[in-house]
């Protein structure tokens, strides 16, 4: 579905991503994990056309989309939920959603259908649909950001830290929704700081360090890899007895 080959991206002369290659097959959830500054967000922003790569190739459904404009890429069916919400604070919740569905704006039926779907996932947003998005609480803004990304009926969803700022119970809910979306055929590329959670839902994962992929494997493999445990899971062994409830979150 999505194939990235030899991708490098630089800010000025700093190479944030160096010759990264990976693949996301149709119907998969793929997670990219790594510490702050590893280049995770940069990769997503390059796929969605916000940044231009200095070298490498991005293919989507066997077609080269490298360097295409962001609006074109959304139209092709890749939707991006950016890190840190980036909602339109001075527009209402509903308008935020409608803008998310901009590329489908001519098809009112689909838009209405999508709105119904996201409201069924996040009833809280329905209650607040006439409210200005900037007045929502942080977690509600996060729900809105995810919902907005779903409004364009994407084939591939790029999620940058969907759990950011969400209460534990909400994180569980979001991940339940992610799995559900996935089971309905949506392909998902996930970037997440909470590595444990991401690897648990992901079919496969890649570990990024200083802009390079240093490990890859299935979610379970990576979860058991001592290097991953050390670097990203707080050195904690999973299945640890103490505080099972919180350790998982």
């Amino acid at each position: 579905m999505l194939r990235v080959t030899g991708l490098s991206v630089s800010y000025g002369s700093v190479n944030a991503v160096k010759k990264v290659s990976f693949e996301v097959a149709k119907g998969e959830i793929v997670a990219i994990i790594g510490s702050n500054g590893a280049g995770k967000t940069t990769i997503l922003e390059t796929i969605s056309g916000i940044l231009k790569p200095s070298e490498g190739k991005i293919e989507y459904q066997e077609k080269d989309i490298t360097g295409q404009k962001a609006e074109k890429i959304v139209r092709l069916g890749i939707s991006h939920m950016p890190e840190g919400r980036k909602i339109f604070p001075d527009l209402t919740v509903e308008d935020n959603l409608l803008l998310g569905g901009w590329v489908r704006r001519r098809d009112r039926q689909i838009i209405q259908q999508n709105i119904d779907i996201v409201f069924s996932y996040f009833p809280r947003l329905k209650e607040r649909k006439a409210q200005l998005a900037g007045t929502l609480s942080g977690g509600e803004q996060q729900m809105l950001a995810i919902s907005r990304a779903l409004m364009s009926s994407p084939n591939v969803l790029l999620l940058d830290e969907p759990s950011l700022g969400l209460a534990p119970i909400m994180v569980q809910e979001i991940y339940r929704i992610i799995k559900e979306l996935n089971s309905q055929g949506l392909t998902i590329l996930l970037v997440e700081q909470m590595a444990y959670l991401a690897l648990k839902v992901a079919s496969r994962g890649y570990v990024l360090e200083n802009g390079r992929i240093v490990l890859n494997g299935t979610g379970t493999e990576l979860l058991q890899n001592p290097k991953v445990i050390d670097a990203y899971l707080g050195g904690k062994k999973k299945n640890q007895k103490e505080k099972p409830k919180e350790a998982s979150l």
Partner: protein, 598 residues
């Protein structure tokens, strides 16, 4: 990097020396016409440097500087012609009068911003122009004022090259003072206001005061420029101080480069010489300016200076991004003073506090006590009102009812800079950094209240100011080291990855040396290993005697380090107690923790 910086500095000194020598020798090789142009450039440099302080650094666009310049010019002209005062008296008085008008022009900026402020300043400029034209008795109306004397000392007349050197000298002083102010807590406060007013207030900067200061300073420069212009020309009329001239002033800094010291200099030089080069096209002067404005806004948003900077830095920046990796395990702290404080137990107390927005009650009769020297966590579902509580404590909101006691005293004034001053520091859920300012400067802004740099001392850069600045820098670096951000020090804050921006907010908040630190979701954007580091950091902060109120969703962090937890939902307290109790509280599990077990 170090050697690179030194080389850059060396290069700077060398070019400064070269330009100075050139400026000193130039008049001897040029005819009077070109000397006159240089004199004009000097005056524009002063004017633009002032405008740059308020627009480039503080971010308040003024389109009324033609008016302020005119006030300086007319004050000087009137004092000299009507009262017979000499230039040496008229100049400081013009500066003073213009500065007073600067205060007046500054007031609207307290209520309005952006395009609206620009409109008000346009109005100001036009009113001044109208007064010059209409108040014939005082200003001579459209004809203006003639016979303004050339500055002199005894029989020594400042004509030709002498006037040139006088202007050069004053411009030199103006630039040095501007440079000194910008590289001090004053300049950092200006930039903080430009980059993020909310966060500027939270660091203890009185935003209103500093906006007015910026306008006043700016007007003082305009006044000096106007006075010099009067005495240079010997004749002034309203034609020189029109709205077009205000636009021209703005153009000087836009083309040269806003928010830099050399920007206005380059802008003034280029825009004064350009029409001379294109002599035949005099009719099209305004057209050329217009095109230039469009080009500089579209193609070089940081002006000519920005263009040059980009050239230099793209060649010189180190190639490897590894150098921006944070150092791990750098948790030595020597800067936070362990202070014994005693507020009889609870440093903070909320009594029946409510806050509603329109119909929505975000916080509902909340009672909460935070014991001094503890880590107290506030948790609850999304939208429960946690951030609202933080905003109430830090003075962003005034409670609808109830009272907040801090250090045993009831809080009556809700103003962020006052809360900061009383010892409350905070971080923000949605990062609120000064994006374009360096990481180091972000922390230095946090030290605003503690840096002792008086205004006049800073203008002159007295040794005491120099020392305090050095000390502040060292302390800021120590704070960055504490959070593992030392290597980023010179980078603009916006270039940091999200998680590190959140850590930088902690460094900046600690720079206030607060008694109470409010952390709003500090772990968002950190991976689990980084969260473990953060836990150590917060614990060390507590050990140094700072009370911490933590809002956070990462339960492993909250449960590990908290001494006490308050849980709220729909603005109401639903549980409180030590972590063990909260973990097993059925209400909390249902509303917040969820039941899924790993």
């Amino acid at each position: 990097m170090q050697s690179l910086k030194r080389r850059y500095k060396y290069l700077q000194m060398l070019s400064l020396l070269f330009v100075s020598v050139l400026l000193l020798l130039m008049p001897f090789f040029l005819n009077t016409y070109y000397v006159r142009l240089l004199q004009l450039i000097g005056i524009y440099v002063l004017l633009a440097t002032g405008l740059n302080l308020v627009t480039g650094y503080t971010g308040q666009v003024s389109l009324g500087h033609g008016g302020l310049y005119g006030i300086g010019a007319y004050t000087s002209a009137l004092l000299a012609t009507k009262l017979g005062l000499s230039f040496w008296v008229a100049l400081p008085l013009s500066i003073l009068v213009a500065a007073v008008f600067g205060v007046i022009l500054g007031f609207p900026s307290l209520r309005i911003r952006g395009p609206y402020l620009a409109m008000v300043t346009i109005g100001f400029g036009i009113i001044i122009e109208k007064i010059m034209v209409e108040w014939t008795g005082l200003t001579g109306g459209p004809i203006g004022i003639m016979g303004i004397p050339t500055p002199q000392i005894g029989k020594f007349l400042f004509t030709g090259n002498r006037m040139y050197f006088l202007i050069l000298f004053l411009v030199g002083i103006g630039l040095v003072v501007a440079h000194n102010l910008i590289n001090s807590k004053w300049g950092r406060a200006f930039v903080a206001i430009r980059e993020n007013e909310i966060a500027a207030g939270a660091m203890g900067i009185n935003v209103r005061e500093f906006k007015v200061i910026a306008f006043t300073l700016s007007a003082a420069y305009a006044g000096a420029a106007g006075s010099l212009y009067s005495h240079l020309s010997g004749y002034i009329s309203p034609d020189s101080f029109t709205f077009n001239f205000s636009i021209f002033s703005l153009l000087l800094i836009v083309v040269g480069g806003m928010g830099t010291i050399v920007g206005p200099v380059i802008g003034a030089a280029v825009l004064t010489f350009l029409p001379e080069v294109l002599h035949g096209f005099d009719k099209y002067r305004l057209l050329i300016y217009g095109v230039l404005l469009i080009i500089s806004v579209l193609a070089m948003q940081e002006g000519i200076v920005g263009l040059i900077k980009r050239k230099i830095s793209s060649n010189d920046m180190p190639q490897d991004s590894n150098q921006y990796l944070p150092e791990k395990k750098t948790l030595k702290v020597g800067f936070l003073k362990t202070v014994r404080r005693n507020f009889n137990g609870s440093i903070l107390e909320l009594v029946n506090v409510s806050k509603s927005f329109g119909g929505l009650t975000a916080v509902n009769r909340l009672n909460m006590k935070v014991v001094e020297g503890t880590i107290h966590s506030l948790i609850g579902p999304n939208g429960a009102g946690k951030s609202t509580v933080i905003n109430l404590i830090s003075g962003f909101y005034r409670p609808t009812s109830g009272e907040i006691k801090f250090k045993g005293r009831v809080v009556s004034v809700f103003e962020t800079h006052i809360q900061a001053k009383s010892g409350i520091a905070r971080t923000f859920q949605n990062v609120q950094l000064y994006q374009k300012a360096s990481v180091l400067d972000n922390v230095l802004v946090g030290m605003h209240l503690r840096i002792n740099e008086g205004f006049w001392g800073t203008c002159l850069k007295l040794p005491a100011v120099r020392r305090s600045e050095n000390l502040a820098r060292q302390e800021a670096m120590a704070l960055l080291r504490f959070l593992g951000l030392e290597r980023y020090a010179e980078m603009p804050a916006e270039k940091l990855p999200y998680g590190h921006q959140k850590l930088l907010e902690i460094a900046r908040a600690l720079a206030l040396q607060p008694d109470l630190l409010l952390l709003d979701e500090p772990a968002a954007g950190l991976n689990e290993t980084e969260v473990v580091e953060l836990a150590k950091i917060i614990t060390q902060i507590k050990e140094k005697g700072v009370t911490v109120l933590l809002v956070e969703h990462q339960m492993n962090l909250v449960m590990e380090i908290s001494d006490y937890i308050t849980v709220i939902d729909y603005g109401k307290k639903i549980a409180e107690g030590p972590p063990e109790v909260i973990q097993n509280d059925q209400t909390v599990i249902q509303a917040y923790l969820g039941t899924e077990v790993a």
